[in-house]
């Protein structure tokens, strides 16, 4: 690139993808969800306003809470990209959860097997290992789809369970750490440095943001991105116009895997400093919701992820201050997304007759 850095014009254009009316309907759906959920809370005999206040304060109330929300938004956003990019090609990658676990496995493997290296060398190596592992794992689903016509929804879901078991084996069998449900700790040099100490925000945030910018450039500024969009809207015309539909399919899955794999790695070399059982609070699946609320537009994935992260983080304070269980955050998310789908804010276009 020469002198012209992405300026305001570019940013405005990037963010203008969803049309304002859809945004308005989305806000309405959010408000509607809040009302419905408030009624549910009231039915449980709790004060809904207190619950809402708790969620907001727990997620945005102070620097620590905000930092925590941002750190949860990191894997959510990356998994959101891992869903949004294939969804744009009408490829149903619901395997971000597994791709993230494989990324985490690769990260811990690199961190624990290589000899000690300085951080600036070691960390990129670990991330690279995770990205490659995630891409291969996701690419497998792409290959099975193109070569055998295997339904990618089923394959990616099944691979999730296998990947989680592989990660579990790393914890129980390969690098166990006593009775703790985690692997041995990774070397200190590999841990991502904190960049905003007040909020305990690590280097993971800028890395994730850079990855999302890359996703945006990919989808709107490259030939591959145009091919992904074109194939999603009409695979027949795309084929007739000379696109390598199968190659693009595999590539799309692999690209999705890089994002999820990166998310997994950064969970390992982040605060946990190890591969920990249940490190993912369903980030991979929630990423689907993140992608849908962003209407598959890369520029909107991070804001969408912050919204979900806030619900997730904020609802953790619920049991302490009210009698509501933490999982209420999950229910809010489900109600919100289903509401958006029902309100037709999120609608995907298909070419006539393109079923699978």
């Amino acid at each position: 690139m020469s002198g012209d850095a992405p300026g305001r014009g570019l940013l405005t254009r990037a963010l203008s993808t969803p049309d304002p009316r859809a945004l308005a309907t989305g806000v309405m759906a959010l408000l509607g969800t809040i009302v419905v959920v408030s009624l549910m809370v009231a039915a449980l005999g709790e004060d809904p306003f207190a619950a809402i206040r708790t969620i907001i304060e727990g997620s945005f109330g102070d620097t620590t809470a905000f930092g925590q929300t941002l750190m949860v938004a990191v894997p959510l956003a990356l998994c959101g990209a891992a869903a949004a990019i294939p969804f744009t090609a009408r490829l149903w990658n619901v395997g971000a959860e597994g791709q993230m676990h494989i990324g985490a496995f690769a990260a811990v493997a690199v961190a624990l097997t290589l000899p000690a290296l300085p951080g600036p060398v070691f960390i990129p190596l670990i991330l690279l290992g995770a990205i490659v592992a995630g891409a291969l794992w996701a690419g497998l689903a792409g290959v099975l789809k193109t070569a055998f016509g295997a339904n990618e929804v089923i394959v990616t879901l099944m691979l999730n369970f296998v990947a989680i078991l592989i990660a579990t084996y790393a914890i129980t069998g390969i690098w166990p750490q006593g009775v703790a449900p985690s692997t041995e700790q990774v070397p200190d040099s590999t841990v991502l440095p904190v960049v905003w100490s007040g909020a305990n925000v690590s280097l993971a945030l800028p890395i994730a943001l850079a990855a999302l910018v890359a996703a945006w450039v990919l989808m709107s500024r490259t030939g591959l991105g145009l091919q992904i969009r074109s194939i999603g809207l009409n695979p027949f015309a795309s084929l007739m116009n000379g696109m390598r539909v199968q190659t693009v399919t595999v590539a799309t899955f692999a690209i999705a895997g890089t994002f999820a794999g990166l998310a997994g790695a950064m969970e390992v070399i982040g605060e946990n400093k190890a591969l920990v059982t249940n490190f993912s609070a369903n980030y991979g699946y929630l990423g689907i919701a993140v992608a849908l609320v962003a209407r598959l537009a890369p520029a909107w994935i991070f804001p969408s992820a912050v919204l979900f992260a806030a619900l997730q983080v904020g609802s953790q304070s619920l049991p302490a201050s009210t009698g509501i269980p933490t999982s209420f955050g999950q229910i809010i998310i489900a109600a919100f997304v289903l509401g958006l789908l029902g309100a037709r804010v999120i609608r995907l276009r298909y070419a006539e007759g393109a079923v699978q």
């Binding site: 149903w92 339904n151 099944m158 369970f161 997304v337």
Partner: protein, 303 residues
């Protein structure tokens, strides 16, 4: 490998396939009508939860199982509203519905210790091998095996079956024949969810493990694969479900298989999922009903 182990693996396999079989039969009905019911995992989970809850409240296993029927119907109505009336994308909403209904902590620790007793069928259970494998099973398993031919008859020998299949192949033709595609799909989704929910409940009734977080462990999605493998034919679906059940049963016998016992337990746990992937790959030539997964807008509706 001696005969005891073989018998044990198959007998356990048949019992373990029960929930998946129920779910796959239900799924086949929905897909034949043109609705890809990916909410299947969530509906199963709901069934398991309801059953576990009923048992904990002291209502008994059968009350729990029967309670899953109306619960399944209600879930079916809700999903049908979303898919049929609102035209929401079946794949994405199904996935969201399924995965967000995991309800994690909310439901943790609904423990159950009882399970359905196995019933030996007189005479038949005395047949060597077959008798021990097939005819000493819990009642829900017999019911599931009985349900397969019934679903086959429903799909192929009733007018309703003919109509929903046409709605799954070419809904526009169904409509011009004077039938209501939405009504057919609503009914199919409700029936489908009742079977799936019952399957989820049977999971609790058979395994007695109680309700733990994510107890279905992807079995709903496995059922999706079995439907493809069984080519939407209830009889072939039984075969697919058995394959899954047996691959799951192997882990319980793994320790007695000598040289294989050195494999880590995770390998055995992942076997059913790997088998499912292989099954989907092998079933490559399967053709979904033409209109499966495509929302239908009746003509004359607001454009």
């Amino acid at each position: 490998m001696n005969s005891t182990i073989v018998i044990s693996v198959f007998a356990t396999g048949i019992a373990l396939m029960t929930p998946v079989l129920w779910a796959a039969l239900g799924e086949a009905i929905a897909e034949r009508a043109g609705v890809l019911n990916i909410g299947i995992e969530g509906v199963m989970l709901f069934g398991a939860l309801v059953c576990a809850w009923a048992i904990r409240e002291g209502a008994g296993i059968w009350t729990g199982l029967l309670l899953a029927i109306p619960v399944g119907a209600v879930l079916g109505l809700a999903l049908a509203y979303l898919w049929v009336s609102r035209g929401a994308d079946q794949i994405v909403s199904g996935i969201i519905g399924a995965t967000s209904l995991l309800f994690d902590e909310f439901l943790k620790g609904v423990g159950v210790v009882t399970s359905l007793d196995e019933i030996s069928i007189p005479l038949l259970s005395d047949i060597p091998w077959i008798g021990e494998i097939v005819f000493q099973q819990p009642s829900v398993t017999y019911l599931a095996l009985l349900a397969a031919p019934l679903v086959f008859l429903l799909l192929n020998r009733t007018w309703f079956g003919l109509y929903i299949r046409s709605a799954g192949e070419k809904p526009r033709a169904t409509e011009t024949a004077g039938l209501s595609v939405p009504a057919l799909r609503y009914t199919a989704v409700v029936v489908s969810c009742v079977l799936i929910c019952f399957g989820g409940a049977s999971l609790i009734a058979i395994t007695s493990g109680g309700f733990v977080t994510n107890v279905t462990a992807g079995q709903g999605f496995v059922a999706l694969a079995i439907v493809v493998l069984g080519r939407w034919n209830p009889f072939l679906i039984v075969g697919g479900a058995l394959l899954f059940g047996v691959s799951q049963a192997l882990q319980f016998q793994a320790q007695s298989l000598g040289f294989l016992s050195s494999l880590p337990p995770e390998a055995w746990l992942s076997l059913p999922y790997l088998v499912t992937i292989v099954a989907v790959v092998v079933a490559k030539s399967s053709r979904y009903p033409n209109a499966c997964g495509v929302p239908f807008t009746p003509a004359g509706a607001a454009r």
